[in-house]
Amino acid sequence: MTFLEILGIWFATAMTLFILSFLYKDNPFYKLAENIFVGVTLGYSVVGAIWKTIYPEWVVPLFSSDVGIWRKGFLLIPGVLGILALARIIPKLNWLSRPAFAFVMGWGAGVAIPTAVDAFVLKHTSKTVSAILPGGEFTFGAVFTAFSNLLIVVIVLCVLVYFFFSIEHRGPIRVASRLGVLFLMVAFGIAYGNTVMGRMALLYNRFFELKQNASGESYFATPILVLVTVLGLIVHEVWIKPRPPGTEDVQLEKPPEGAST
């Protein structure tokens, strides 16, 4: 491996360990890594905005001799609006940015309405009411499918009733609303089960890379940097962290007996 590749492995391992050190306590290593993360992300966004959209889609055609005058005029408008949008940072000139944001918001709102109606409201309402009466052979499978389809209709209606706040939830509406809440709890439980899988996958990946970077080929980056991080945290805790008189670490008090958590 080249020097830059090895340096890259060491840097990546250090950043990973610095972020993980937050699990113990907030500390300077974590703050350093966090600010590097914010810095590189901002830098990446600037590069992407300019080199992937503004330069190829606006600057290049505007100064190209192959592009006609009408096309250049057509492209000038969003560029001017975009530059005026930057006036938002100057409070006195804030009003210059309004036409740009009005265009963006108005266009976004306009295209959203018919697509939401077509793709979500109409499509999903129609698909909710599938055949409830079983067709064909009267088997257990067919009956169970019909029951499932009926259950879908009931659940969708109950949850929609729960979210309908324009009428008072009394009588049958209250029953439907309460059922809706319970079905939502079922859905959130299912979501939680999937969320755990997602988060653990991320953790596995980081640990796997740390293990890969512990090899001799990487000059034992992981164990050395773990040692450096742990020693650094100890030094920070014991010697460097200032302790003005009368300002000991605040300990969270236990909640009193009987208090709900």
Binding site: L23, Y24, T41, Y44, S45, G48, A49, K52, T53, P56, E57, V60, P61, W107, G108, V111, A112, T115, A116, D118, A119, F120, K123, H124, K127, A187, I190, A191, N194, T195, V196, M197, G198, R199, M200, A201, L202, L203, Y204, N205, F207, F208, K211, K254, G258, S260, T261
Partner: protein
């Protein structure tokens, strides 16, 4: 303080340590667990991709960032390998700015993989092209639904897109036989369905993180999505169906152990809570 109070007020860093060790164990000492069983939705994804003949043009939109890389990058790699193996013609893009670099690497690595393992030599511009990213999210999907070359005048590396042979006869999304979105959130498969699939009547399959897989099911039932891969498990199922090893399969042991640990923690919490008598108090 009695035992139940002690456990209910336990410093959470002990729990962090336990979960860290559980995930680390199968990495340090690998062992096998019973095999992966593909679900119906993974099979639908695989079947949709497998049904198209050689030379078909498909669009892959890798709508994720490094935060979702462990779950969606294996899906992207498996999809690219499947497509290269079947000699499909692939247009790749992303709706997420911070995903551009990962997609570049995935294409580069898997073109090399295809050459080494399938005996095919995908040519850039003829068999595949990476058109990159543009600002706008849903506006990009809307624009592509009418005229792709208006939205993407160049590929990711600055070459005029119209000059690539793969784009011959491709004007809009309707000219792709399959559209794939591997999404981590917004913009993602929801925007593809709302602004792309419904209007253009596309054959659409998706992959998503474990967190948002429950949100994909209404679209599956409505027929707006033909199949979906869910999280790292979905990626592992797809790798198994393809019979091509990938990075997702290796993580399933750690995932299984971690999930069992969470079940134990939830059970322990509730048992201790009931044993402490707190559940009786208002």
């Amino acid at each position: 303080m009695n035992a139940s109070e002690f456990f209910l007020n336990l410093d959470r860093r002990w729990i962090f340590l336990v979960i860290g060790l559980v995930v680390l164990l199968p990495i340090v000492r690998p062992f096998d667990l019973p095999g992966i069983k593909p679900t119906d939705q993974s099979k639908n994804y695989f079947d949709t991709m497998n049904a198209v003949p050689e030379g078909t043009k498909i669009l892959i939109s890798a709508d994720f960032d490094p935060g979702s890389k462990p779950e969606l990058y294996p899906m992207l790699e498996a999809t690219l390998r499947h497509a290269f193996k079947k000699k499909l013609r692939i247009v790749v893009m992303t709706l997420w700015l911070t995903g551009i670099g990962m997609v570049e690497k995935a294409i580069k690595d898997n073109v090399a993989y295809a050459k080494d393992h399938f005996g095919v030599e995908p040519q850039e511009g003829k068999d595949y092209v990476f058109i990159g990213w543009k600002t706008g999210g849903s506006a990009v999907v809307i624009g592509m639904g009418v005229n792709i070359l208006e939205m993407f005048s160049q590929d990711n590396y600055g070459k005029p897109l119209a000059e690539h042979p793969i784009m011959a006869g491709v004007k809009s999304l309707k000219d792709f036989k399959i559209v794939v979105s591997l999404s981590a959130g917004t913009p993602g498969f929801k925007e593809w369905v709302q602004y792309g699939v419904q209007k253009n009547n596309l054959t659409f399959v998706g992959g998503c993180t474990g967190i948002i897989i429950p949100e994909a099911y209404p679209y599956l039932q409505a027929g707006q999505m033909k199949g979906v891969l869910g999280g790292m498990k979905g990626a592992a199922e797809y790798e198994k169906l393809l019979n091509i090893p990938g990075t997702a399969t290796g993580g399933m042991v750690a995932l299984s152990l971690a999930q069992f640990m969470i079940i134990l923690l939830v059970a322990a919490c509730n048992i201790i809570y009931i044993a402490s008598g707190r559940w009786r108090k208002p």
